[in-house]
């Protein structure tokens, strides 16, 4: 399979159209609907599979995901603060983006794995939802510290009830409660159309990415280097965690992809409210201008190859 997946061609079309200043744009309510469908589909799919396995076994994995999300943020922060010489608030905010996850990257990985028949643990959407959270809280603490008054209650409310988490967890619960037979009736919309919806979504992502590339020119090489270096490092961490948890090959590759991915919805919204002095243009330029395209175009196959290596090395 040397040809590029068509969904990635949609992404590239969006980037090209954006860079050429085409009039093309998805109406914002369509974009919202498309992202809702993706989040629900991801949740539903995981929920159906969860119905078939005991919940207790997942607890260590959930804990590992929480620790990993927090740890990646804590590693990224000093790199940005000392080596990158960013302001404290900016370093903390960018670090939180990289400790959290991107649903879009996950969805592309699902499509990539699917077209190659690579199996992975069905409860990955649960880890996806869990991984969104710790980085946000760590990021806010890094920026504000414990000393100053941080309205953690309000922050937690916004974080746990953010759009992404409500839809993924809601989808998980519906899929879990309804089971495979129950969900069969809504399958055409959520599962059969998944790649088509993803293609539309990626078209818009391409347009958004194009607007961020301009910002990169202003913020320089360090951000570009960080935007590629950090996901590579995170993927190695994700691979190691996946191996320790005893995940399948596909599961290790997926966890590496999740670790490498970088938020651009939940974290920017939380940071804008809780760390207002952080410049959102910086983190979005890195996250969307560099890391997202890198991950979907180059990263996912790379992280899969990494997982194959790790499995061959340690499971032989």
């Amino acid at each position: 399979m040397s040809t590029l997946d068509p969904i990635l061609l949609f992404f590239l079309l969006g980037v090209a159209a954006g860079l050429l200043r085409s009039e093309l744009r998805l109406p914002s309510s369509v974009y919202e609907l498309v992202s809702m469908l993706l989040l629900l589909a991801i949740g539903l799919k995981g929920g159906i599979e969860l119905a078939q396995q005991p919940f207790g076994q997942l607890l260590p994995q959930i804990l590992a995901a929480v620790v990993m999300g927090a740890a990646l943020t804590l590693v990224a922060f000093p790199v940005l603060f000392y080596a990158g010489r960013f302001k404290r608030a900016d370093a903390a905010s960018i670090a939180a983006h990289y400790g959290s996850v991107s649903v879009a990257t996950y969805a592309v990985a699902v499509a990539w794995f699917g077209s190659r028949g690579i199996e992975f643990e069905a409860h990955m959407p649960l880890l996806l939802a869990v991984l969104e959270i710790p980085a946000i809280l760590v990021g806010i603490l890094l920026a504000r510290g414990f000393s100053r008054e941080v309205r953690l209650g309000a922050v937690a409310h916004d974080v746990f009830l953010g759009k992404g988490i409500v839809l993924i967890v809601g989808g998980l619960l519906i899929g879990w409660a309804a089971g495979p037979e129950g969900v069969a009736s809504i399958k055409p919309l959520f599962f059969d159309l998944f790649k088509g919806i993803l293609a539309l979504f990626l078209l818009e992502m391409g347009l958004i990415t194009a607007t961020q590339i301009g910002g990169l020119r202003r913020y320089g090489l360090f951000l570009v280097a960080f935007g590629i270096g950090m996901p590579l490092f995170s993927a190695v961490v994700g691979t190691a965690v996946g191996m320790m948890l005893g995940l399948s090959l596909g599961g290790v590759a997926m966890l590496a992809t999740l670790a490498a991915s970088c938020s651009y919805i939940a974290v920017p919204a939380a940071m804008r409210i809780s760390v207002p002095d952080a410049n959102p243009a910086l983190s979005l330029a890195a996250s969307l201008g560099v890391t997202f395209p890198f991950n979907v175009l180059v990263g996912i196959p790379l992280y899969h190859a990494l997982a194959v290596r790790a499995h061959a090395l340690f499971r032989a």
Binding site: R25, S28, E204, R272, P280, L284
Partner: protein, 100 residues
């Protein structure tokens, strides 16, 4: 006949902080407010409302002069440094003064 005069406060700012703002407005004595989605360009560049991070809102509040002063002072102190925000006040006539 003469109509009672009130202040119309118009705030254009980032959609990200809408929930914080309306909480503040109510606390500072606004009897109500109207929120609409907005797009445009200002000192912080184009805000084209393509997706969450580039979305703006326009919040309008009709209130008496002291409340308008209070809100304006609070917003300026609390939000002007960190957020894209403009705020302007105009005199308007209303029909039912007791509502505002």
């Amino acid at each position: 006949m003469s109509f009672p005069v009130r202040k119309l406060l118009t705030i254009v700012t980032e959609a990200a902080i809408e929930s914080l703002l309306v909480r503040d407005l109510e606390r500072l004595g606004a009897q109500g407010y109207t929120v609409s989605e907005a797009r445009g360009k200002g000192s912080r560049g184009v805000r084209n409302a393509d997706w969450d991070a580039t979305r703006n809102v326009r919040i309008e509040v009709v209130c008496d002069a002291p409340t308008a002063d209070r809100i304006a002072a609070h917003l300026q102190a609390r939000y002007y440094d960190d957020y894209g925000m403009i705020l302007f006040v105009s005199d308007i006539t209303v029909l039912r003064a007791e509502k505002f």
